[in-house]
Symmetry: C2
Subunit: 284 residues, 2 copies
């Protein structure tokens, strides 16, 4: 047995899948869940996703060695504060948020030295959300990034690492700023651009006529823009600094494209498109 | 038998699939192909995609009632001129280009009154190109847009319509400007944005580290940016006027997003993202 008790706070797609995977791993004696929705808790208990659950953090976390915060990004620091207020010292806190620096900075500003917080981000998920989409294999063979700082205890880091490895994930570490810069470019900017593209098309006159031809290329962007607006607006704001840099870089790049088309410069345009096609090849 | 002979000029993905579908339909007595590549012609004949083929337009089109131009957009007017120079009057010319107004305008400026040109755009295709990807069912149950003008003869329009219907496509008509505006928004702008996004990410320092996390959202954009840069730069330039409008609208939309993030305005940002998510729902 790896852990006697782990509590997951927030039983959405990620939290539900994590709790379920831990249960199925057989390496955690007791998996407890916290959610604000009674309905979600009942579902989680009925499906065997958790051993027990409650709406109260205090009630659920008693005796937990690790508490995983799996709520929306915007709530993580507040939940961390609540956990610290009612848990035993030496409890290890970790999270699954897609943005790291700003929350870690905030949490480290108030966390007492006898507690540990280890930032985490499993690279997995779908455009869906909610416990009914959860899946105990969601993290199997996927990567999970942990983002220790100079304040993170090595022992806490290793425990959180073993938690993710117990459910089949490959753990790698990155400093929070690098993490946020990488994900600004590969995830947050693409989401921002997809939402923007859909809004641009929908604002055009005759949107219905236009949308009936969405198969012409637009459809590729709609999966991403299906993701929860509430969750994503919090993520985009939380990674504000790096995201603004990436949007700026994107604006300069589209300006180049705009100019090539405006100038009827087929050569310059083809060169830009070829550059992108080359990147695609390197991804294959 | 619907037609005695149809010639397809340009045996790429679209031309090859069209020729093959016409052969299989049993409604065309003879399907002839023209391509500049000997290798492509040999492949097309060996696979039974065409009955015969040649590198010479003059040789292949003899006796054809309809000649379909299925080359890159930039070549269509020149090929139309060559066909007119060596075909019998009353030959019907049509094409499969994704942009219509500029080429139709050019072709109508030189086409003699005894010939007919009917603009066409089958809404089908993949990110692949070349005859080896062709598929006789590519247009089955897909839409094909024809874009007649005041100069198009009704009889020619009906013949081209019956050609597409013979291979299972649903034909609808649209004026060339409306077509180009719709496709600027649903297809050309999304392609331009996808290429731009990939280039933005690739220009960032540590691109390799970044690209290894492309699964975070970027991957959705890479299929589209895999499309042929040569073909797409011609399409983007050919639909310059409407595309520039759509890029301008996109730039204004991303400016709004930029501003909401810069101002830490979660409410405004969420409202923008919700608008896009609503559009997605209307597409389902």
């Amino acid at each position: 047995m790896l852990f006697k008790k782990v509590t997951v706070v927030g039983l959405g797609l990620i939290g539900g899948s994590l709790a379920w995977a831990l249960k199925q791993s057989g390496k955690v004696e007791e998996v407890s869940g916290v959610d604000i929705e009674e309905k979600t808790l009942r579902y989680a208990i009925r499906q065997g996703i958790v051993d027990n659950g409650s709406r109260s953090i205090q009630e659920s976390i008693e005796g937990s060695q690790i508490v995983v915060i799996a709520t929306h990004v915007g709530l993580i620091p507040m939940i961390a504060k609540a956990i610290i207020g009612c848990s035993a010292p030496e409890t290890i806190l970790t999270d699954v948020g897609s943005v790291k620096s700003s929350l870690i900075e905030e949490i480290e500003s108030f966390i007492p030295p006898e507690y540990s917080f280890v930032g985490g981000h499993p690279i997995s998920g779908t455009e869906h959300s909610g416990i009914t989409f959860s899946n105990p294999n969601l993290f199997n063979s996927k990567r999970c990034i942990l983002t220790p700082t100079s304040k993170t205890s090595l022992s806490a880091l290793n425990k959180v690492k073993s938690l993710w490895e117990a459910i089949g994930a490959t753990v790698l570490t990155m400093d929070p700023e690098t993490h946020d810069r990488v994900f600004a470019f590969v995830s947050h900017l693409p989401h921002a651009v997809a939402y923007t593209l859909i809004n641009t098309v929908a604002s055009e006159r005759e949107p219905e006529n236009i949308l009936s031809f969405a198969g012409g290329g637009l459809k590729d962007f709609t999966r991403i823009s299906e993701s929860s607006p509430e969750m994503w607006s919090e993520i985009l704001i939380a990674n504000r600094k790096h995201l603004l840099d990436s949007i700026q870089a994107f604006k300069e790049e589209i300006e180049r494209l705009h100019l090539a088309i405006e100038n009827n410069d087929l050569q310059a345009l083809m060169e830009q498109l070829r550059r992108a096609a080359g990147v695609k090849k390197s991804l294959d």
